[in-house]
């Protein structure tokens, strides 16, 4: 089983998100960076599948050279191959990103054949365009479903009648889930909650420092969505009423609950 996962490096803001003065990006001067949570789960899922069925996980990102950090993190939790598509701009628009990823994937597949499965996040944590994975899948001519919170593949005992070369993917709906059956090679957009990502071991961390990061040329035309500026939504600032300190505050809390009518 050969699986590719596309991840994006994003800042990890705390209490609020600040914007640079030119309005073009999140002010990350004092922030750490991370991988979008959905994509962290996608990496974990890929590693779990190949742990079970054998195979190889490749992780790819388009971003600044520093995005190597997120690739190495993926390696520390079990990814085998790392590919960086370095860009110098802050962010590429979704069409351009998809084009560049498609190009890099095709180049990898030319040598080694098609990936059985390509995983994306349902949406990136920062831009949240809800589209890069779908665009790449379409360009590659592969089936794709988003919002996936469960994958059954190969000899998984949970699924009985899964034909050779197909997978079942589950998506949550109100009060249950719906199941899709896709022929491989396939593409899925996954969501946090599909699994609980592992933490890197010391051994994994050390090995990831030496992992090779392959580079791929960024090729893509500017798309039709052009950023003017980022800004924070207006916030209603209200005074906080302190009801008390410690357990002695309980009567005041219950007064409030009564007032709100949630005690009836």
């Amino acid at each position: 089983m050969r699986i590719l996962v596309c991840v994006k490096r994003v800042p990890a803001p705390g209490a609020r998100i600040n914007v640079t003065t030119d309005g073009q990006s999140v002010d990350a001067a004092h922030l750490g960076f991370t991988t979008s949570p959905h994509e962290e789960c996608a990496v974990e899922e890929a590693v779990q599948i190949t742990d079970r069925l054998g195979g190889e996980v490749t992780v790819m990102t388009l971003g600044p050279p520093e995005a190597e950090e997120q690739l190495r993190y993926a390696s520390s939790v079990g990814a085998h191959r790392l590919v960086l598509i370095p860009i110098s701009e802050v962010d590429w628009d979704p069409q351009r990103t998809a084009q560049a990823l498609t190009g890099a994937i095709s180049a990898l597949e030319e040598g080694d054949g098609a990936f059985d499965l390509i995983l994306f996040g349902n949406e990136s944590a920062d831009a949240g365009g809800f589209q890069v994975g779908v665009r790449v899948a379409h360009a590659l001519g592969r089936p794709v479903v988003n919002g996936i919170k469960g994958i059954d593949i190969g000899t998984d005992p949970k699924v009985v009648d899964l034909a050779e070369g197909t997978l079942a993917a589950r998506r949550e709906i109100d009060g249950g889930f719906e199941v899709y059956r896709l022929p491989m090679p396939a593409v899925l957009g996954v969501k946090e909650g599909i699994n609980l990502p592992r933490y890197p071991t010391m051994k994994g961390r050390l090995a990831s420092k030496k992992a090779e990061v392959a580079q791929s040329e960024p090729v893509g035309d500017v798309g039709g969505q052009v950023r003017v500026r980022l800004h924070r939504p207006e916030e209603q600032i209200s005074e906080t009423v302190i009801l008390g300190t410690g357990p002695e505050a309980a009567p005041a809390v219950v007064d409030l609950l009564e007032e709100l009518g949630v005690l009836s």
């Binding site: 919002g147 609980l196 906080t240």
Partner: protein
């Protein structure tokens, strides 16, 4: 030329979100000099066409094909793409639900056009539409310029409330038969599993939330007890799910569930922005935290400063005392 609104329905039940998209689309169509049209796809579509006229749709396209039975993102996307090509559509709108965003991404890929997801405001103009869209799950806004042959837009959920038009439009039904390759059936829903559930996190009137400050899976028992007493459910932060203390379906926030209870009791939660966006629609927030400077405390309407392990049981006890039980 028309502005086409993709209306979602599930086996013949129209989604409320579709009516929001129509409501949002009405003034936009007028401003852009476009007719408002709607499309409904798949088995049971005929049963939802009635009433779309009342929301301003002059034309309602009903798309049918043997593989258009249940929802399928590729088949739905291809259907809309063909409708755009064949009927002179210059803008397509859908609600920014999971399905809405996915179908329009399919349309965008097929037409090779940009898609702006989860917009809050749209201003049409001859030299490129201006939009404001949501980033970071709602913590940040992006103003952008859209240059496209066909404007593809999803509207962030709950930006407008669904409201019928002042004067109904014709809602004239027009059958549409797309040409779909059998292979598109590969991503149509194959099975559905219904799990019966009581109140869910997204609809609960009371949510008792716990964060890293709770300390362990076992220490959630008093939160469960209070939630039970108030007819609510327990929610949590990502720190909690990452520690394996609670399942992810309990997570509130950007990558979890958006809640809108009458009151959210947030205990041992610092109030990171990604948690806050999932909680801010709560009508009231009570923060319980040892740290009076925690973001959750300063943003909440009410707060108790103290150790949640003492405060929560005391609240439960007081509730029971007043009920005389």
């Amino acid at each position: 030329m028309s502005l086409l609104v993709v209306c979602e329905h599930d086996r013949g039940v129209l989604s409320a979100a579709s009516l929001e998209a129509l409501t949002f689309g009405r003034p936009l169509a007028t401003a852009a000099g476009l007719d408002l049209a709607a499309v409904v796809i798949g088995a049971g579509a005929e049963s939802v066409v009635e009433g779309l006229g009342a929301y301003g749709a002059a034309t309602v396209h009903v798309a049918s094909h043997p593989i258009l039975v249940d929802f399928g993102p590729e088949a739905w996307g291809e259907t809309v793409a063909q409708l755009v090509r064949s009927t002179g559509v210059s803008a397509v709108l859908a609600c920014g639900t999971e399905r809405g965003n996915e179908v329009l991404a399919q349309v965008a890929a097929r037409l090779d056009q940009p898609l702006v997801a989860n917009c809050r405001a749209v201003e049409p103009s001859a030299d490129g539409w201006s939009i404001t869209r949501v980033q970071w799950g709602g913590s940040l806004l992006e103003d952008a310029r859209l240059t496209a042959d066909v404007q593809l837009i999803t509207v962030a959920h709950h930006v407008v409330e669904a409201e019928p038009a002042e004067t109904s439009a014709a809602g004239e039904v027009s059958a549409f038969a797309p040409e779909l390759d059998e292979s598109l059936a590969r991503t149509v829903v194959a099975d559905r599993v219904v799990l019966t559930q009581g109140i869910t996190l997204s609809t609960a009137p009371v949510v008792v939330g716990g964060g890293r400050g709770v300390g362990s899976a076992e220490a959630f028992a008093p939160l469960e007890e209070l939630a039970g007493e108030l007819g609510g459910v327990v929610g949590c932060s990502r720190a909690v799910t990452n520690n394996g203390w609670r399942p992810h379906r309990d997570q509130v926030g950007q990558t979890g569930t958006r809640i809108a209870p009458d009151i959210y009791i947030a205990s041992g939660i610092s109030g990171a922005i990604q948690h806050w966006v999932g909680a801010m629609a709560a009508k009231n927030i009570l923060a319980i935290n040892t740290d009076a400077e925690a973001n959750m405390v300063t943003r909440a309407g009410h707060a108790v400063i103290g150790d949640l392990h003492q405060v929560i049981p005391a609240i439960t006890e007081e509730v029971r005392r007043r009920r005389g039980s």
